[in-house]
Structures are given as C-alpha cells and as structure tokens.
Amino acid sequence: MVQRIVITGLGVLSPIGNDTDSFWRALIAGNVGTGPIQAFDTSMFEAHIGGEVRDFKPAEYFRKLDPALCGRTTQLAVAAARMAIDDAGIVGANYDQARIGVFMGTTMGNASVGEDENSRRIQHQASQPTELASHYAETYITSAIAQELAVEGPCHVIPTACAAGNYAIGWGMDMIRDGLVDVAIVGGADALSRGCFAVFHRLGGMAHDVCRPFDRNRAGMLVSEGAGVLILEDYEKAVQRGAKIYAELLGYGLACDAHHPTAPHPDGIGAQASMLRSLKESNLELDEIAYISAHGTGTRANDSSESLAVRKVFGEQADNLPISSIKSMLGHTMGAASAIEAIACALIVGSSIIPPTMNYSEPDPECLQGVVPNQAIERHVEVAMSNSFAFGGNIATIVMKRV
C-alpha cells in the first residue's frame, strides 16, 4: 500500500497577489501582473517588462533573523513558508520539529547580492555587510526558513533552474515516504535578477509587452519573481489532526533531454518521458488527466516542443485537454514557477475552476488547442498534471488529485 501524501498548506507571493486568496482571485479574474520593471534600471536593455512582487514587507514575516541581512530570494521564501505553515496549522499540531524538513528550489538563488555588489563597485560605494554577502550561498534559503520556523529536519536547496520547484516537491514527497520526515515544507523562490534578465535578453527570448503562451504570435517569456510554498503531510496524520486538505499529491516524474544547454529537445523527448513517468508512478491511465498546467513560457521553442510532447503522450485527447499557462499573468517566476503552479493546481482541483491563459488571440496549429482562453471556466478536475522544464533540459512533472 503506497503511502498517501497530501497538501495541507499554501503560501504564495507573486506579481498578482501576496497571499493565497488574493493570488487565486487575481488568477481566475485573469489579472496580468507584469509591467515595466521598477527594481533596476532597464534603460540599457531593449526589453523593459517583467513581473514583480509589489508592496512586500519582509519584516512582517521575520521574527528571529534580520531580513536586511537576507537576499530578496530568501526574504520571499521565508514569507511564503511562514504563510504556508500558518495556513496548515503545523505549529501546535504535535509534530516533532526534528521531523519537519525544508526542500526549496531556486534558479538564481540570491543573485541580487552579487548584482548589488557590482553596482556598488561601479559607483565606488562600500561593500555590503559581511553577513549579507555570506548569505548569498543558496543553502541559506532553507536555513533561514528553518531558523525562522524552528524546524530541524533535513534542509535542502535544489537549484535545478526553472524545474526546481517540482524537483523540490518530489524530493519532499520522497522524504516523507522514506520516513525521514513527517512534514515537508516544499516549494521554490526567486527574486527578480538583473543577471537573469540579461541572460534571457541575450538569448532573444523575451517578450516586449505581454506573455502570450501557445498563441501564434507569441514573442517570448517575461522574467518575473515570486515564491510558492506547499506543506506536504501523510494523509492519515493530516486527517487525524483535522487538517484542511487541498489535494493529494500522487506522484512525480523526472527526466532530462540531455540535448542542449538552453534549448528544449525539438521533439520534447524529456517532457514525454517525464509525463509518462509521473503517470506510471501515480498509477493513472492517460484519460484520467483532466487538466494540464503547462510550463508554457511563451517562447516559440518551448510552447511548440511542449505541445508536441503532450500530443505524443496523450494522442487524440491532447488537443481536447484543458490547459493553461499562468505565466501569461505572472511572467516566469523561475525557480518559483512550478511551485506556484502547483499551488494553482491544488486550488483548481479543490474549486473546479480553471484559470485562463491570458493574452491569447490566435491559435497556433503547432500548439495545443485546448488552451483555456482569456477567461476562467468552471470544470470539475479530478486529477491535474503540472509540467516544468528548465535550461539543460531538466524536466519535472507532478500529478495531484482532488480529495
């Protein structure tokens, strides 16, 4: 008998909302949160649009550490973790703190610390405080969460680029099944990074106004920021303590294209493998998947190879499956993306509402046709699948079910 793992808490900060309720309301209202970047001067770039978490006050979430000595990625991660753990009611739930672990994905880590140092040197300003500089290390993301929440289980940062959130979710699930922890705090975080912006800018994959996933006229992705954290627990224990259950996490699949450092495999071979592996682990037939949360970055290459992979896996059903890419509203929150998309999936299976893919006007024959365009729809979703792809062809898919 496979142990059942459920999601009992959610925490999110995003360009469309800084808590789960406002995020969800904005998501199903189709609010586009991207716009001109405020965090740094974009005048030397030819693109100026991104997604930012606005009105974020880190001090509201920190009780032990000084947020000024944490990079913004760490700040966002701590805030989302605090929200999720409060939502799940873990404190006071009689769990041994040694059996609560933290597993977080990130793409850029606290790159802002390095970027700030560059700016200071160019402007002949003093360096940053030594503690802040040393907290660049990616492991500080989970360390800060664990210190803030006083938990003492394993703490691992999984920096597998833009698939990192799903990698971390899968690993947290494994840690519960392996018996090392009872509760896994999982997710991903990334602050807006000027270096990351420069990377996508140079690769020519950025949109200049909005992100149009799966649209014939899609022109690229938008770099964004955010954090998403989910609380995973054993189903029986969650029921026993009367926890609110959002969804059941059925399984995950990993794969790697092993093809190119930045481009996806044109046939999406890794994506196919990852989806198939997640289905096998979840013990599901193809026709049981009722919705796909697409990676859907809005670049020509990603959306067509993802579409091809879904068509290869799902055959005739592929173009009838409702899919959406919430990156049309949030932009690409990097290592947080798949974690935030997992939160969206948990809310979708619970509410029977599918959020739209915004900015969609013209179908592309090369892309999936089941895109939910511009307006949320009501639809019972028993099982949802969520894809995430990354540089290096790293791929992770998760599957969750209504409880």
């Binding site: 030397m44 210190q147 289980g153 940062v157 000027r194 420069a198 140079r202 990993l254 092993a258 290096g392």
Partner: protein, 425 residues
C-alpha cells in the same frame, strides 16, 4: 533511508583534484600527508580589477587555497565544447569521464533513460553570473555571450554533464552548503533504490573563483596567515579553512544490477541522514550532528560501537570542529577501536564537493586496508590537535565489518551523515 534488502553500491570513482587527475594521486597525497596550497588572488570579478574586501581578521595577509591544474583536462575531454565550459564544468566532466571508464559504462552498454545525475554544488555559477551582470551594465547587454548564458546557473555543470553522457533519467543539483556532497549521495541512493535510475553518477564540484572566495571570506570561514596554519582539523591554532576546488564522482547502482553486468562493488552505501540545527550554539550543533549520525547508523542497521573509522568533516574552522568533537565524544563513548580521519587536513575544504572527496578517501582506505590521515580515538580525545596529530597510517582493525561514518556540517546549520561499509556478497 530505511534499510532495504537490496544494497546500493559504489562501482566506480573519479576525481579531478589539486593533486591531479584520478584517484591514485589523491590516495598517494593522503598516504604521504602531503598538503599543498598557493596564495589566492582576491579580485571580485574576473573582468574588474578592484580587490575584494580585506580578510576581516587579518588584513593584508594572504589567503591560501588549493588549485587544480586545468591545463591537462583537454587530454581527457577533447577540444569539442571545451571553450564554452566554465572551470567547474570541466572538473565535473573530467571526474565523471574517469568514473564512467572505471565503471565500464559506455554509450554501447548504458540505457540513457536509466542513467541519472546528482551533483552537490553551491557556487559554480556565481562567478559567471557576476561577470554576466557586470558586462551587461558596463559594456552593454549585447557584449554578453549567449554561450555563457547557461553557465550562470548553479546546475550548469550537471546540465553539461547530462549532455556529455546522454543521461536522461534525472538531473538534480543539491545545494546544501558543505553537506551538499553527502546529501547528493543520499538523494542518488534513493533514486537508485526507487528505480528512477539504474545508475546514478553522483558527484560534487566546486571552483575557487574570486566570487566564491568572496563568499568564504565574508562568512569568515577563511582568514589570512600562513599555509601551515590554514585548515588544520581540530587544532586550536588553525586560522580557518584551507579552501579547495575540484570534482569527485562515484557511480551508484543496485548491487544486483552491478553484479549482473560484471561490475565489482567497491563499497556499500548503507545509510544516509540529514538534519538542521535551528540555533547556532555549539551544543545545539553538536547534538544535531550526533542525531544525524545516529539516524544514518540506524538506516544502515549498525551501532556506533561498530564504526571502524570516522571520516570527519573537520576542516580547521574552530566553531565547526568543536561541534564535531563534542558530537564524536558522545557518539563514540563506548567504541574502543575507532579511528578519526579528518581528511580535509590534506584535501582542503571543497565545500559542495567535500562530501564526495571524503567518500573517495573512505573507499580508498577500505580498498587498501589502511586508515590514513588519522588518529586513534584516545589520541584524538586526550590531546589538543596539532599539525602532527592526524598523520598516522593505521592498519584496519581485524574482525570488523569495515564500517565508515562520514560527517558533514554546514556553516548555516545543516548536518549530514553517510555510512559506508565493505561490500560482501
């Protein structure tokens, strides 16, 4: 990790280290107790000549590091693609090519969908990211290189390695500071056990870039002084880490798979565990490290009294070493035969790679029936450590199972442990 019937075994090793290519150079350095080190340049960016901050505690004094000679890597890797790989990627690819050769795994006999990669690493993308950002804002975004773009990420070495080896089962990088190496092994073992991969190339890699050095200096993990006083495990006089770089790799698979393809298991990865100390006090860190060790031993189904060697994570940074000494005092209270081998006294502190270097040292000791860079427990507990404390080569105690405990602690509170033991059919 619960004890299961089917053992997970190490079937090959590879290394690119400051001592050279391969395992033999590493083993001979460990046997001879030969330390090496060079003064490090302290510039923040490879593009910018301004110096990084002075050593907080000893301004003006040189800091020392152990560098890898990269000049011969082309012989191992060939020229194709080399110009697009950063230093850390070259180290990892070099070490992995050597390990795959030793494992007898080639494109002819490996199923790409069964081959996975798991790498412990923390700072390999940082220099590239700093330089990318610096070029973009000073010269202009079009002066950055598209080929350099993926190298800004922490998982760049793992991604390049997957392409090189055609490894499609999974590709994971773990960044848990100094615990990343042991945690990558724990992760990899779980992937093999659950059948997510048939073989996993599990490695660790780190490079001593100016940006990495900047992090170490700001963390006060290293300070200026002489080479003789840098990186002395458990020693009062030590000035902090002797930072090192390189890559260390093992191939993990289920014993039955290894035997079926005619491979010889070098050691069994019998247990792993990991935990976090939520406050930085010495007592808390010692208690959590001890708990981690006990959890790993329990997973391996052995007691603390059965440990023959502790391949310690001590590296000459006082706070970390004192916590480990305290943990070992309790853990080994009733073990009369154990030796302590803090191999970082020779190999240096390679951060995310260090757990894998400890693993290579442990497997070499098993293979040669010789415990090196070590002291008996009582010599370790009763005396204050000096340069000479951990120089002994001791024969492996007789009538034991061949059990080794590897320990790691991170600066920010993580702790990890691995139990290795001799493989017996």
């Amino acid at each position: 990790m619960t004890k299961e019937k089917e053992p997970i075994v190490i079937t090959a090793m590879g290394a690119i280290s400051p001592f050279g290519h391969g395992i033999d150079t590493l083993w001979s350095a460990l046997k001879q107790g030969a330390r090496c080190g060079t003064p490090m340049e302290r510039v923040w960016s490879e593009l910018q000549q301004s110096e990084c901050p002075e050593t907080p505690d000893n301004p003006g004094e040189p800091v020392w590091g152990m560098r890898v000679d990269s000049s011969k890597l082309v012989d191992l890797l060939g020229k194709r693609g080399l110009q697009y790989w950063r230093t850390g990627t070259k180290f990892l690819l070099g070490a992995s090519v050597l390990a795959m050769q030793e494992a007898g795994l080639t494109s002819e006999n490996v199923d790409p969908d069964g081959l996975g990669i798991t790498i412990g690493s923390n700072l390999v993308g940082f220099q590239s990211m700093v330089d990318y950002d610096y070029t973009a804002i000073t010269e202009g975004p079009h002066y950055t290189s598209p080929m350099e773009a993926p190298n800004t990420l922490a998982n760049a070495p793992a991604s390049h390695l997957a392409i090189r080896l055609k490894a499609r089962a999974l590709n994971t990088t773990v960044a848990s500071g100094q615990c990343a190496g042991l945690d990558a092994l724990g992760y990899a073992a779980k992937m093999v056990r659950d059948g997510r991969a048939r073989q996993v190339v599990a490695g660790g890699v780190e490079e001593l870039s100016p940006a990495a050095l900047w992090v170490y200096l700001n963390a006060r993990a290293i300070s200026g002084g002489t080479l003789q006083k840098a990186g002395l495990p458990f020693a009062e006089t030590s000035t902090g880490w002797l930072p090192s770089e390189g890559a260390a790799v093992v191939v993990l698979e289920q014993a039955k798979d290894a035997l079926a393809r005619g491979a010889r298991p070098l050691a069994e990865l019998a247990g792993w565990s990991s935990a976090f100390a939520s406050s930085p006090s010495l007592e808390k860190r010692a208690a959590v490290l001890q708990r981690t060790a006990r959890q790993a031993l329990e997973a391996a189904g052995v007691s603390a009294d059965e440990i023959d060697v502790v391949v310690s994570g001590a590296n000459g940074l006082k706070g970390q070493d004192q916590a480990e000494a305290l943990a070992l005092r309790d853990l080994l209270a009733h073990n009369a035969h154990v030796s302590i081998a803090p191999v970082k006294g020779i190999l240096g502190e390679s951060y995310g790679a260090s757990g894998l270097f400890q693993t290579l040292a442990a497997v070499c000791m098993m293979k040669h029936d010789l415990i090196v860079a070590a002291a008996r427990k009582n010599d370790f507990l009763l005396t204050s450590a000096t340069n000479e404390t951990f120089t002994k080569a001791l024969p492996w105690p007789e009538n034991t199972q061949g059990t080794v405990l590897l320990l790691a602690q991170d600066l920010f509170g993580s702790a990890s442990a691995i139990v290795l033991r001799r493989y017996n059919d």
